[in-house]
Amino acid sequence: MKIMNTLLGSALVLAASAATAAEPAIRPLGLDAADLYREQARYPRSSQALRDGVDPILNKRQINKQFMAGPNGEGPMLSIWNSAISYEPGEKVQLFAELVKDTAVKPIDLLRKLEKKSQNLTVTAKLVGETSGLMGEVTYRDNGKGADRRAGDGIYSASFTMPKARAPQAGYAESVAVHVQAQTSQGEFRGALGGFLYSNPGARLTGRYRDEMRDGNMVVSAEVNVIAPGRYHLAATMDSGKGADGAQPMAWAQNAAVLQPGKQWIDLTYYGLIFHDMAAAGPYTMSSITLTSALSIPNAMTSVQRNVYSMPVHEMSAFQARPFNNPLLMDAAQRLEADAQAK
């Protein structure tokens, strides 16, 4: 089917650009999408192969450096970032700031030297909850003490412990904006606005896991202790291979359920065909897992737990090799291809 779509697409490109053979052309978008849908349809949406070796859970937790230029676009820019996306009550938030020439280059050495010499760049921040207002104020330091890793490196650091008294209700989260203000020794201001989630998860992973083969798929169950009733979302990435160097993310799975208080199990089904397609002979490790309280938006997130469980190696024949043929995607592909065939 993919070959036919490619031929059909090529023919359409040829026809479309026949008058101007050297002109850039466009492959019909519908056929491009149809090919991808047929590929994706091999697995259910809740269980995906990771062909690029990228862990989708860790991918979303990457440090996000934000940048803001000065008035009228003047340099240097103020760059700010946090140590994490989300923090829980009593957890220490680590905040960072530095002045940079441009986002594409490293901080200006000259600028750093100037600031190091003057030692009086002032960086402060106000932490403001979207609904609850001012939570606290911090002063950043570049003195190698406390939250600051290295004195005089141009990276100013601060920490703030999330006040338990201001915690959202169990199962909920609040957006917290970080208003950062920097003033150079010459009296020049820079400002930037960051943010993180103040999460109070309504359920937690207990650390107990179990697995079984079910209908040719690997089902890994995680026990959760639910405090607040509501909807919870669990996602985990499985690595295959030996050792820290050899292990590669090979599959991701998710599930969600409305749960009542108490200890309960959530199943994650890793579709059998993925093990064939990825030639994943094991051993298998649940390399990252995260539980989210999805009672409201913003969701209350927990930190990502790493390498929590190892699964036994199974013969490849134990895994089913049938494509799932996701009907949502197969239908979309058929419609797009029918459009392409029509005159």
Partner: protein, 336 residues
């Protein structure tokens, strides 16, 4: 299966030997961007005029002078992208469109979903984040499945694909400036965004509001295009190439830092997006944020890494000028 192959072969040969290449047209569903008032939600003319500038009309161009059926969505663009009057309303209107219901201007899709119709969403600016939220929460296993009772599942099932132009997939540094209220921020962009209402607050580039943190990979493909024509003043506040309001890192849904500096030669490829699948690059246009949705600037288009354009049968090199004069509206019309 054999008959299908014969039909396909016939189609292929007829095209190869000179028959006119033509597609059955999808129905185009237009989703606007952020608003400073609720007019597009309450008044069809406002929603329709979002796509118009004087005699220039994005919808007219994208639909090939209205030959292609279309539907114009109007939602509350002052609310956060995940709100019932934003994503919820858009999902409901998509379902209505695919049922053959006319929009408030009397325009309807020629074929319903049940009749075999195909439906392409064209979304601008905040419409990108709205679509990410809908398409990323369509399945019962997704974190915010059918949030607030909205029919994300049905809407996602019926959409064939989405195209975003100037999409705020990772927020806007302009929203940071407006909501920052700080000394020393890049203030010249403020007039382009105006106020820090709920929609703006949730279009910041901070992690607390990123749609990727509240959605999964889109259930249907989201194709990405956007402008690189600076707006005098505001663009100095944005990292890398931008359309005057949204930076490339957001327009092209890049993973990592929202302030990364990208241009047409190095913007993130299809395997480096905010999700591990579901986002695909189209191209870049020498248009600003308004031009992207009102068809008023027919200008250069450039290939981006993993872009849609081919040169002599192979993908054009990134940053190649692939068109010297083509609006995004016209570009959309060439995609089907």
């Amino acid at each position: 299966m054999r008959s299908m192959i014969v039909v396909r072969l016939f189609t292929f040969l007829s095209l190869l030997f000179g028959a006119t290449a033509a597609y059955a047209a999808p129905c185009l569903i237009f989703v606007h961007g952020k608003q400073t008032d609720t007019n597009t939600y309450t008044n069809y003319t406002s929603a329709r005029n979002y796509w118009v500038n004087g005699s220039n009309d994005f919808i007219r161009t994208a639909t090939k002078n209205f030959a292609t059926p279309y539907y114009v969505v109007g939602y509350n663009g002052t609310r956060r992208y995940n709100d019932a009057q934003a994503a919820g309303e858009v999902a409901r209107e998509i379902v209505a469109a695919t049922n053959g219901t006319a929009d408030a201007g009397g325009h309807r899709c020629a074929l319903t979903y049940a009749q075999g119709g195909t439906f392409w969403v064209v979304a601008h600016s905040m419409g990108g984040a709205v679509m990410d939220f809908i398409l990323g929460n369509n399945d019962a296993t997704d974190p915010n499945f059918n949030f607030g009772g909205a029919p994300f599942d049905t809407a996602s099932a019926r959409i064939s694909l989405a195209i975003t132009t100037g999409g705020t997939h990772r927020g806007s540094q302009g929203a940071d400036a407006v909501c920052g209220q700080l000394n020393g921020v890049c203030n010249v962009i403020a007039s382009f965004i105006q106020s820090c209402d709920d929609a703006t607050y949730w279009l910041r580039s901070g992690e607390d509001v990123q749609v990727k943190n509240f959605a999964n990979a889109p259930a249907k493909l989201v194709y990405l295009t956007g402008g690189f024509e600076a707006i005098f003043g505001s663009s100095v506040c944005l990292s890398g190439e931008d359309d005057g309001v949204v930076q490339y890192a957001s327009i092209f849904a890049c993973n990592g830092s929202t302030g990364s500096s990208y241009d047409n030669s190095n913007v993130c490829r299809n395997n480096a997006k905010q999700e591990t699948s579901g986002f695909r690059n189209l191209d870049g246009a020498h248009e600003n944020h308004d031009d992207e949705r009102n068809d008023s600037d027919s200008d250069q288009r450039r290939q981006v890494p993993d872009g849609i354009w081919t040169c002599s049968g192979a993908p054009c090199a990134a940053n190649t000028t692939v068109q010297s004069s083509m609006t995004t509206g016209r570009f959309v019309s060439t995609l089907y």
